[in-house]
């Protein structure tokens, strides 16, 4: 009887480890959050070019992750990209109205993410507001083209 108890314990631990592993794969590897949806608020931002930004990319502030990109769509009024950001609920009502969003690249070829920097406006952004001041992704080809034409004209 005692041996079978040890066996049951082993199998139980094995299954528990499997489930914990799956949780690890969900949270740590695929970056899902356990926070309830109510804990976040949304902002929108239009960019003329988003480069290779993808949904679920990080949104950072001073290097600290404060949210994720939840959706990217084409804005047919302006023919630019509308990016919907899902931000930490703690920040609601704390970001000034002139906060800027820029698409940045981690390293030369790394992932692209959005960096926010706060301005000085006393009025703050609420759920569903749009960020006016944005800076598009740097596209390497354009950069090179610019550089080449500068050299040529010099």
């Amino acid at each position: 009887m005692k041996r079978s108890k040890i066996m049951e314990l082993g199998v139980g631990l094995f299954m528990l480890a499997g489930i914990l592993g799956l949780v690890f794969l969900g949270l740590r590897v695929s970056g899902m959050t356990l926070q309830a949806p109510g804990d976040t608020f949304r902002l929108e931002a239009n960019f003329s070019n988003i480069g290779s930004l993808k949904p679920r990319a990080r949104v950072t502030m001073a290097g600290v992750t404060v949210g994720r990109v939840s959706r990217i769509e084409l804005d047919t009024d302006w023919y630019d990209a509308r990016v919907i950001l899902e931000l930490d609920g703690d920040l609601e009502g704390k970001l000034s109205r002139d906060t800027t969003a820029a698409i940045l690249t981690a390293g030369l070829l790394g992932e692209q993410y959005i960096g926010l920097s706060v301005g000085g406006d006393p009025e703050t952004l609420a759920d569903g507001d749009t960020l006016r001041d944005t800076q598009s992704a740097i596209v390497l080809e354009e950069l090179i083209q610019q550089f080449v034409s500068n050299v040529m004209s010099d």
Binding site: G10, V11, F24, L25, R28, V29, R56, A106, G110, E111
Partner: protein
């Protein structure tokens, strides 16, 4: 010439017949009312098939993750993209390596043992005597093993992935000096839970079914002599490996190949 065609035809018929037997076999085994007794038998097989395979699967996973990180780093550093190491390690493991390698190890470690065990029970008339006692060996012997295999392999695959990603972290971050934040950050940005973890799990479930099925069927259907057992054990490993690799291609094409 005609003789060759005839022999080809005979082979084809034999193959079909054996597939049919295997199908009836798995159907008769899998449907059974789970009882308290059955639960105990299943638990025992879980221990034998799952827990005892854990060590080899985890050690292999660790090494494969470490090698991936090492190889990936030397490749990525040329493009200045070593930040993408985490993404590379995680995606290779979750989509391909963990389901496939864990299934191959499982076929070698647990599948062959299942075949040999059932085969020996058949050779020593234990299965026959069970039938004569009025207990269906498909329910009593085969079903718990089938279900244990089906549950164990996905769990082992999860373990393989987790340990592999940790191995990649050890080599990439601790040893080669990739920035820790970008190892995890890049990974989190590119791994989708449904698309990558989920599809990997589906693969693993399919492999689990196929490998255990082959193993128990080969054991149940073998010629009850010592030569028959050794042949069936070999067949289990060969057929399972081929089936896993072949099915992996098909599943990959469906899941990631843009075929809809």
């Amino acid at each position: 010439m005609i003789e060759q065609i005839t022999s080809l035809g005979r082979r084809g018929c034999e193959l079909l017949e054996s597939l049919g037997r295997a199908g009836i076999f798995v159907a008769q085994s899998a449907v059974g009312v789970p009882s308290r007794e059955g639960w105990h038998l299943w638990l025992r097989q879980m221990h034998f098939v799952g827990v005892l395979s854990l060590a080899i699967v985890l050690v292999s996973g660790l090494f494969i993750g470490m090698v991936l990180a090492l190889q990936g780093y030397t490749l990525l550093v040329d493009f200045g993209a070593e930040q993408a190491l985490g993404q590379m390690v995680a995606l290779s493991l979750l989509r391909e390596l963990a389901p496939v390698v864990a299934a191959l190890l499982f076929a070698g470690r647990a599948g062959s043992a299942l075949t040999a065990e059932i085969g020996l029970m058949k050779a020593t008339e234990q299965l026959s005597s069970m039938e004569m006692i009025g207990v269906d060996p498909l329910r009593r012997v085969v079903a718990p093993r089938l279900w244990a295999g089906f549950v164990s392999l996905p769990l082992l695959t999860i373990g393989f992935s987790v340990v592999g990603i940790y191995g990649g972290y050890l080599v990439g971050v601790e040893w080669l000096g990739v920035f820790e934040g970008s190892y995890w950050g890049n990974m989190q940005a590119s791994v989708s839970f449904i698309g990558d973890v989920g599809n990997g799990m589906i693969k693993s479930l399919v492999f689990a079914l196929v490998v255990t099925w082959i193993a128990v069927f080969q054991g149940y259907d073998l010629v009850p002599t010592s030569e028959g057992i050794s042949r069936a054990t070999t067949r289990t490993v060969v057929y399972s490996s081929l089936a896993v690799l072949g099915l992996d291609f098909v599943l990959t094409a469906i899941m990631f190949g843009g075929l809809t």
